[in-house]
């Protein structure tokens, strides 16, 4: 349980920002207001080292997506502190949060590609957000080649298979070489083989670019790519182990 830091006081300088990509401390989160106010995250403490691939599992409704979107600067923090890529998110304005997001690559369950744009144009949209016009086409094409779509750069999503579309979405998330990738069930819409391929691809690219991946999944067939597996139950971080330890303590079938 070396990564859990419940025992550390929140104000102590307990990590060096050079090695830590994400640091969550005493984070609580509530949905709703007044009588309907419901706590979904309880005192979450979590540190993700740079270059780690971390898989987050847990029963449905346990708060995984909520935590992921908080780390992704997509929600305002309520209680606790959250440091992402050296930037404290507490108290940031909406506009400052947008700035943080530009260093994060998001991969969703659905590919969310524009049907009207080719694979390359969809990826170029990500390059453009950084005001980088010059060689955006070249970068998009290279990235698509890395995800194995060199032959498909000018295809529209309609002409691509589900797995290929998700690979375009991965290319889009990775093209700016983000330091952090957040993925929420990226394989859920894919068949077994394409799901496996997509995750292996993410793993390879992450190792090449040295980026940190936090991936939520129910898919126990892909757990082995993880350096670490954290398990969230009813809003509490229940365990934090490597794959081998995790597979010994958890019945794989219970995860599905």
């Amino acid at each position: 349980m070396s990564h859990l830091s419940n025992d550390l006081p929140s104000d102590s300088p307990h990590f060096s920002s050079e090695e830590i990509a994400v640091s969550v401390r005493h984070l609580d989160y509530y949905y709703g207001q007044g009588d309907l106010r419901k706590q979904v995250l309880y005192d979450i403490n979590l540190e993700l080292s740079k270059g780690q691939i971390v898989i987050m599992t847990g029963p449905s409704g346990s708060g995984k997506t909520t935590l992921l979107t908080l780390i992704g600067a997509l929600r305002f923090l309520q209680e606790g502190s959250l440091n992402v890529l050296g930037q404290e998110l507490v108290g940031l304005s909406k506009s400052e949060l947008v700035e943080v997001r530009r260093n994060i690559g998001f991969i969703f369950q659905a590919h969310n590609l524009f049907d009207s744009l080719t694979a390359s144009q969809n990826v170029e949209m990500a390059v453009e957000v950084l005001q980088d016009w010059g060689n955006k086409r070249q970068r998009a094409v290279e990235m698509l080649a890395q995800v194995g779509l060199a032959e498909r750069v000018d295809y529209k999503p309609k002409a691509l298979s589900g797995g290929q579309k998700q690979r375009v979405a991965i290319a889009r998330a990775l093209v700016n070489q983000p330091s952090l990738i957040l993925a929420d069930e990226p394989t859920a819409a894919l068949d077994k083989q394409s799901g496996r391929d997509v995750v292996t691809l993410m793993q390879t690219l992450a190792k090449e670019q040295g980026c940190t991946i936090l991936m939520v999944t129910h898919d126990n067939r892909i757990l082995d790519v993880a350096d670490r597996i954290v398990n969230l139950v009813d809003g509490h971080l229940e365990s934090d182990q490597n794959f081998t330890a995790f597979s010994q303590t958890h019945d794989p079938k219970a995860l599905v």
């Binding site: 997506t65 947008v98 969310n112 009207s116 744009l117 957000v129």
Partner: protein, 379 residues
């Protein structure tokens, strides 16, 4: 260059684009038709005066516009003739006759201009040939406007028909057009006016004053206003044209109706474009939310929607403009050019700007939706 997202989104949905463009084009066409009629109205209101060989006009203070003029004493004209710089004064008598179509025997009103044949009231060359002048001098003879509507029957010279229980002969023809005031016009001598309408000639409907060359009409008009009693109003040619024009446009409901027509057309356009943009935004909410997750700001999405609106307005304007030009030509020919609807570049530019404004307004209404695209809803 940026990925032209707005353009690509629009052309991706071909049938939706066609519907949108047809909608914009239709609204543009409606606006052009309304403005065309309004413009023709304004122009035809001034047309009579353009053809009159006079620089200053006297009318009764009760006269609102030419076709409903009230009479005033002819002596005012003779008083005006004494002013230095006045070359000639010409009484003009105006009235309506009930003209019987000799074929169907239906009677319809014609608008009559009457003057002393010695005076060259109109600049139209046809009215000043010796043949027409001779015809004007004959009793119970009138000249008939070739641009009159066909319901009046034969316009041929020699046609005889009954007018207010007298037999009248068409002795000549000319081309003037009745505009909005009349479906048909005739020209006659003042003597025939007296015979047909039995109105004494010492009361005139309009006094035409022709000035010596190089005389300032404004100055003479000012002087006349001083000299003449208040039972006449003095107007320069430009002033009387403006008077009739603004009467038709603002004082009658005509201007209001066409103005309403323009407004309703714009609303139709706004609704259609709004509908299209809203559907397009709704279809792309997930993608827009993804863009926001990637770090795009609402401003970018706002721009995309505005661009879509501008593309729709430009592409919709072109067919709208072309079909309007066609319909203008049709309307002009269907009315024997009595309704001078024609395209002019000011109107073309104005409607173009209006079209863009219309589409941008729709965009502003629909854009609220895109701003609500929330990345957290993607999970």
């Amino acid at each position: 260059m940026r990925v032209p997202l707005a353009w690509l989104n629009l052309v991706h949905e071909k049938s939706r684009l066609v519907v949108a463009l047809a909608g914009v084009a239709f609204a543009v066409l409606l606006v052009f038709m309304n403005l065309g009629f309004l413009g023709a109205l304004a122009q035809s209101a001034s047309m009579f005066y353009q053809y009159m060989d006079a620089d200053v006009f006297l009318v009764s203070p009760q006269t609102l516009e030419i076709s409903s003029s009230k009479a005033f004493p002819r002596d005012r004209l003779y008083q005006a003739a004494g002013i230095k710089g006045v070359a000639r004064v010409m009484p003009l008598y105006l009235g309506y006759l009930q003209w019987r179509n000799p074929e169907t025997r239906d009677s319809r009103a014609v608008f009559m201009f009457a003057y002393n044949p010695q005076d060259r009231v109109f600049l139209l060359p046809e009215l000043n040939t010796s043949a027409t002048l001779a015809a004007l001098d004959r009793p119970d003879t009138v000249l008939f406007d070739r641009l009159s509507r066909p319901e009046y029957g034969s316009k041929d010279i020699g046609t005889k028909t009954e007018v207010d229980r007298r037999t009248v002969t068409i002795g000549g023809q000319y081309e003037l057009g009745g505009g909005f005031a009349a479906d048909a016009t005739v020209v006659s001598s003042d003597q025939n006016f007296l015979r047909l309408l039995k109105i004494p000639l010492n009361l005139v409907n309009m006094g035409l004053i022709k000035l010596e060359p190089e005389t300032d009409a404004q100055a003479i008009a000012a002087q006349l206003r001083q000299v003449l009693p208040k039972d006449v109003v003095v107007k320069t040619k430009a002033e009387i044209i403006e008077n009739d024009r603004s009467y038709w446009i603002t004082s009658t409901s005509t201007g209001f109706i066409f103005g309403m027509g323009v407004a309703v057309s714009c609303v139709v356009g706004v609704v259609i474009v709004y509908q299209i943009l809203y559907t397009d935004i709704s279809d792309h909410m997930k993608q827009y939310a993804t863009l926001k997750a990637m770090g795009y700001r609402s401003g970018y999405l706002f721009n995309v929607v505005i661009q879509e609106a501008i593309i729709l307005s430009v592409l919709g304007y072109i067919p709208g403009f072309l079909s309007s030009v066609g319909l203008y030509a049709f309307a002009a020919s269907a009315t024997n050019n009595a309704l001078p609807v024609a395209m002019d570049w000011q109107r073309a530019v104005m409607v173009f700007i209006l079209t863009i404004a219309m589409c941008v307004l729709s965009a502003l209404i629909s854009v609220r939706k895109v701003v609500t695209a929330e990345p957290v809803e993607l999970f």
